[in-house]
Amino acid sequence: MKDLIEIRWHGRGGQGAKTAALLLADVAFGTGKYVQGFPEYGPERMGAPITAYNRISDKAIRVHSNIYNPDYVVVVDDSLLDDVDVTKGLKKEGAIVINTEKAKEEIIPKLKGYEGKVYVIDARKVSIAALGKYFPNTPMLASIVKVSGIMEEELFLKEMQHSFEHKFASKPEVIEGNMKALRMALSELA
C-alpha cells in the first residue's frame, strides 16, 4: 500500500455513502492506520448528489481539504454518471468502482475516456439477496476494500463483524445479513 490512499465517494442522499466512508475509516483505523472520513455538506436532501471522502495513511494526516485527485472513486448510484463528472481528477493508476446492473462495456463509454481500471458490481442484487432490502453501501464498502487492497479480506470481515456487533447492538438479527452482503460483494465484483 502507498503512504496515503485517497478515496472519493459519490452517492445520492439516503443511500449511505457518508456512512460507508465513516465505516471504511473505522475498519482502516482498526488495522492501525491513520484515517479521515468526512462528508462534503450542502443543502442535503434525499436523492440529491452527495460526496464523501477518505484518507488512509501510515502517517498522521494534517491536510483538511476535499480530495481532488483521488486514487479511487466509488459510485453508489449509476444514475450519477449522467449528472456528475465522477472521474474528474481520478488517477489513472487508480480505479473506479460502480454500482450498476449493467455490464462494464455499457458503463465505460460514460466515463469520459478514463484510462484506469473499471470495476462494476450489482449492489442491488447483492443487497436484496443478503438483506432482503436495498442498502447499497455495505456491498460498495466491501468492493472498495477489495479494489484498493487497503487490508486483507479476512481481516476486513473480522473488523466488520466487530463493527456491526457494536453498530447493531439493539438489532443483532441484521448482522448476519450484512456480513453475507460483504462476502457476496467480495466474490461478485467484476
Partner: protein, 394 residues
C-alpha cells in the same frame, strides 16, 4: 496509557464534557454543533453523566439559563454555532461582565447571508470584544484537549471569565480522525471540582449578580474585567504546562511551524493550519524558507509574543477566515499588524480573506499565498495589501 480512538470533533468534545461531568448544560440545537448536545444528552440518558440538561427554546434562553446556573454556583456550559451564537449576543456580554466562567463549545460557521451552514470564523470574530476567552483548534485532538483545559483557565480566581472553545464546522466537527483520549479519572483529577468563592446559593452569604452600575462604578467594573483577561495569559500557560505533563502534548498561545528561520510566513487559525503545514513542507523541500504561525489563543491576544516570533520574517500573510468590511484588513490581520507596529518591526504584511462559507482550502491554494509573498520580496512591489484567496472576481 492514552486511549487510541477515532472520533469526529463533535464526538470528541462530547466525550470531554462527559469526563468533566459539569453541573448544568442548557442548549439549543444548531448545525454543525447539534451533535455535541445530542451525544452528551445520550450519555446523560445512559447514566454516564449526571449533568442537568436543559432543553431550551432558543439560544437566547440557552445563554440566559447558563448565566443563571453559573451565577448560582454551578459549573455550566453550552454549545452553539453561527446565528445561534448571534442570538446569544446580548447575554455573551452579561456572562463576561458578571465574571461567570461558562464554557462554550463553539463550532464555527458562517453567518447569514446568503444562508450557509459551512465553516468560517465570522461568528467567533464578531464576538471578539465580548469579553470571552477564545481558543482555537486545528483538529479533533486539539478541540478535545482545549476543552479539557477550559475550566481550569476560566474558573481560575485571577481570571473568572467565560471561555469559547472553537473548532471548524464540518471540517473538524464532522470528520472522523484518529485521536488520543485521556482516561476519565485523569481528566476528572486534572479539571477538579468547581469551588467558586461567591455564588447565589451560598448559604448565609447574600450576594447580588448583575446590578445596575452608575457611571461612577461602571468603568471600574470594566477595568477589573480587563485585568482578568490580562491575568489569563499566565494561567493559560500554567494550565498548558500541567496538561503537557499529563499527556505529552504541548500547547501555548500559538504554534510555530518551521518559523525560526523563515523568510516567508503566514499567520493562520483553525483547521487550515494543518493543510498549510503540508504546503510549508513542500516549499521547504524546494529550498524555500517558508514557515507558519498558528494562533491558538485569540483572546487574550498574545501580541508581544507573536510580534517577537515574527520579527525576522521578510514578507508575511495574515489569513482571516472572516470579512470585517473595513476595506483594509480582517480582525486577525488588524491584531497582528498592530502587534508588529508596537514592536517596531515591520515585515511587509499582506492580509488575505479566505475560506468563507466553507470555501475549500487546499495545499495548492496556500502554496499560492507563499508564491505571492516571494514575488513581493523579489519585485519589492507590495501591490494590494488586502486580498481574497480562491475567489471568482468576475
Amino acid at each position: 496509557m492514552a486511549i487510541r480512538e477515532r472520533l469526529s470533533g463533535n464526538e470528541a468534545v462530547a466525550i470531554a464534557i462527559r469526563q468533566i461531568n459539569p453541573d448544568v448544560m442548557p442548549a439549543f440545537p444548531i448545525t454543525p454543533s447539534t451533535e455535541i448536545p445530542q451525544y452528551f444528552s445520550s450519555y446523560i440518558a445512559n447514566g454516564k453523566a449526571d449533568t442537568v440538561f436543559i432543553p431550551v427554546e432558543s439560544e437566547h434562553s440557552a445563554m440566559s439559563a447558563a448565566i443563571g446556573a453559573s451565577a448560582a454556583g454551578a459549573r455550566t456550559l453550552t454549545a452553539t454555532s453561527s446565528c445561534g451564537m448571534a442570538l446569544m449576543w446580548e447575554l455573551l456580554y452579561v456572562a463576561a461582565s458578571n465574571r461567570l466562567p461558562i464554557a462554550m463549545a463553539l463550532v464555527n460557521r458562517a453567518l447569514s447571508g446568503p444562508i450557509n451552514i459551512n465553516c468560517d470564523h465570522s461568528d467567533v470574530m464578531g464576538a471578539r470584544d465580548a469579553g470571552w476567552l477564545q481558543i482555537f483548534a486545528e483538529n479533533n485532538q486539539e478541540a478535545y484537549d482545549n476543552f479539557v483545559q477550559a475550566y481550569r483557565i476560566a474558573e481560575h480566581k485571577d481570571v473568572r471569565l467565560p471561555i469559547m472553545i472553537c473548532q471548524d464546522g464540518f471540517i473538524t466537527s464532522h470528520a472522523v480522525e484518529n485521536i488520543e483520549l485521556i482516561e476519565d479519572d485523569k481528566v476528572k483529577a486534572f479539571v477538579g471540582e468547581y469551588e467558586p468563592e461567591d455564588y447565589l446559593l451560598k448559604d448565609g452569604e447574600p450576594f447580588h449578580v448583575g446590578p445596575y452600575a452608575v457611571s461612577n462604578y461602571y468603568m471600574e467594573a470594566k477595568r477589573a474585567q480587563a485585568e482578568g483577561m490580562k491575568n489569563a495569559k499566565q494561567v493559560i500557560l500554567e494550565v498548558a504546562k500541567e496538561f503537557e505533563a499529563m499527556t505529552g502534548r504541548s500547547y501555548g498561545f500559538f504554534e510555530e511551524y518551521r518559523l525560526e528561520d523563515a523568510d516567508y510566513a503566514i499567520v493562520i487559525m483553525g483547521s487550515a493550519a494543518g493543510t498549510a503545514k503540508d504546503a510549508v513542507d513542500k516549499l521547504r523541500a524546494q529550498g524555500i524558507k517558508a514557515g507558519l504561525l498558528k494562533v491558538r489563543v485569540f483572546r487574550p491576544f498574545p501580541a508581544e509574543e507573536i510580534a517577537k516570533a515574527l520579527t525576522h520574517v521578510k514578507v508575511l500573510a495574515c489569513m482571516d477566515r472572516t470579512e470585517s468590511f473595513n476595506n483594509e484588513c480582517g480582525p486577525l490581520g488588524a491584531e497582528v499588524k498592530s502587534a508588529l507596529f508596537d514592536a517596531g518591526c515591520a515585515p511587509k504584511v499582506i492580509n488575505y480573506v479566505y475560506g468563507l462559507g466553507g470555501r475549500d482550502v487546499t495545499v495548492e491554494s496556500i502554496t499560492s499565498v507563499y508564491e505571492e509573498l516571494i514575488k513581493i520580496d523579489e519585485t519589492k512591489e507590495t501591490g494590494a495589501k488586502y486580498r481574497y484567496l480562491s475567489v471568482r472576481e468576475d
